[in-house]
Point group: C2
Chain length 295, copies 2
């Protein structure tokens, strides 16, 4: 090794530097790949939890009064839509961020092989140089042997020079590609995230309206009516049997639920005002409201 | 129980309905609370993963050429900023969604107690009714005992009627509050999410620019220069010792890194074009470049 030229030593340093560079890219792109994959996995878990929320909101909606039920179902639909876009986000991050980073595992491998080739060419050159040195010391006058060793060294040197140049080119390309790739990958990450955030913003705007539009008063009427005991139903049957007119009237109001509700509503308000009335009167109220409940 | 009036039976049905209603709210608000809490926890985990990404991007940036390093650090800063807003999202969801839903645990408890009170008032009434019935059967002629039982029943009935009315009111309030609360909670959820998405959209726009603005060519020059072996340094010392002029020139170019870079740049391009030149010439190139590398 003592016989190596400053050029050869310089090259060794360069080789070491390239090796460190490759190792660094391998490590950091690998780490980034794993961390982006973890980020994507957590995003998928968040989507799962939101899907469960969607499911539960729908289950809960089914137990609720009509307006709230409808508002909740619409809200759940929008929340589900956000999750569809989150799923798209997950898939796109996998394709546009994780896959390209993962590909660096193989890219780095080929670069390492290029480096190895160059190193062996250089080692061959160094050996030839040592051999020539030996020849000169042992057979200083044997021109033929020395000349042969010289031409072998020349070949080895040319080979080492060629592979070194090739390595420099390939490492240059690698560096160029690496900068472009990391820019591209992070750019894609941002674009995918932005597309998701923009969609979420849009969908939540609709979701908000669905929830804000729930008519509380209408639902309270339905709730109040539902609380009036269906046991009166039996007594209602007697009323019906005694009054065909009443039955017909009830039938008509049932077929027009809108009309029915506004009627119920005004009646309910009346009932609230008349809370101090006698119980008998309330019973009559109950009776009428149960008629609507049948619907 | 056979002695209970249709009214009492109707009330039992109503009570059962109220009980079911309270149980349903307890269940569904509880489930929603847990699922929103899970959603928030996953959001916090996503923030954690993104924080690790920020850290790794900064670590990686430190190994990189100046422009990319700067771009990566700025990108990481923006990504960190998104996580700060995600943290705010987490905290706001806890306060505005989870806490109000959690509060329903206690609200439901007090409603259950209201219901229990009404039930005991009704049970007392039923007992009084049975007792009056017994009095009438056993002592049909004892006006005083029957009258006393009658007035006790009347009190019990009034009490049952009063607590029933109170229950109806409290359940009405509960229902009203419930609808308002679920609207408010889901509305707040949407607002908190939207605020986060809007901020993320804004910050990622900046992040994208930081990444896109990274000057690849500038960094490639720095990279290429860095690859030229510092072993020549020793030979440079000799050159310096022999030429004070050369040393001064180097000193000047070192203090003006901008000038140096453009010089290096044009030289690099020249070197690329002259690849077929002899090795000696390249050595000279290397020598010159090391001069700059010292900076």
């Amino acid at each position: 090794m003592m016989s190596r030229t400053p050029d050869a030593r310089a090259r060794d340093t360069q080789t070491k530097q390239i090796q460190e560079n490759i190792t660094s890219v391998e490590k950091h792109f690998g780490d980034l790949c794993q961390l982006f994959a973890a980020y994507v996995r957590k995003t998928a878990r968040l989507r799962d939890k939101a899907d469960l929320l969607v499911k539960e909101i729908n289950v809960y909606a089914d137990t609720e009064t009509p307006n709230l039920k409808c508002g909740l179902k619409n809200f759940a639909d929008q929340l589900a839509k956000v999750q569809d876009y989150r799923q798209a986000e997950v898939e796109r991050l996998e394709v546009k961020v994780i896959e390209p980073l993962k590909a660096y595992g193989n890219i780095v491998k080929t670069k390492r092989e290029d480096l190895k080739q160059t190193q062996s060419a250089r080692n061959r050159e160094a050996k030839q140089m040592q051999q020539l040195e030996r020849m000169r010391q042992r057979n200083p006058s044997d021109r033929q042997i020395i000349s042969q060793a010289e031409s072998e060294l020349q070949r080895a040197t040319m080979d080492a020079t060629r592979t070194t140049r090739q390595l420099e080119e390939t490492i240059d390309d690698f560096e160029k590609q690496k900068i472009r790739d990391i820019k591209k990958v992070l750019g894609e990450f941002v674009m995918v995230e932005m597309a998701f955030h923009a969609k979420a913003l849009e969908i939540y705007t609709t979701a908000y309206q669905h929830i804000q539009n729930v008519d509380e008063e209408g639902d309270l009427e339905v709730f109040r009516n539902s609380l009036h005991p269906p046991d009166y139903q039996s007594r209602l049957e007697i009323v019906r049997a005694n009054s065909k007119l009443s039955l017909n009237r009830t039938g008509t109001s049932m077929s027009k639920s809108g009309t029915m509700q506004s009627r119920t509503s005004s009646r309910q308000r009346k009932r609230d005002d008349e809370e101090d009335e006698e119980e008998d009167d309330e019973d009559e109220d109950d009776l009428e409201e149960v008629t609507d409940d049948e619907h």
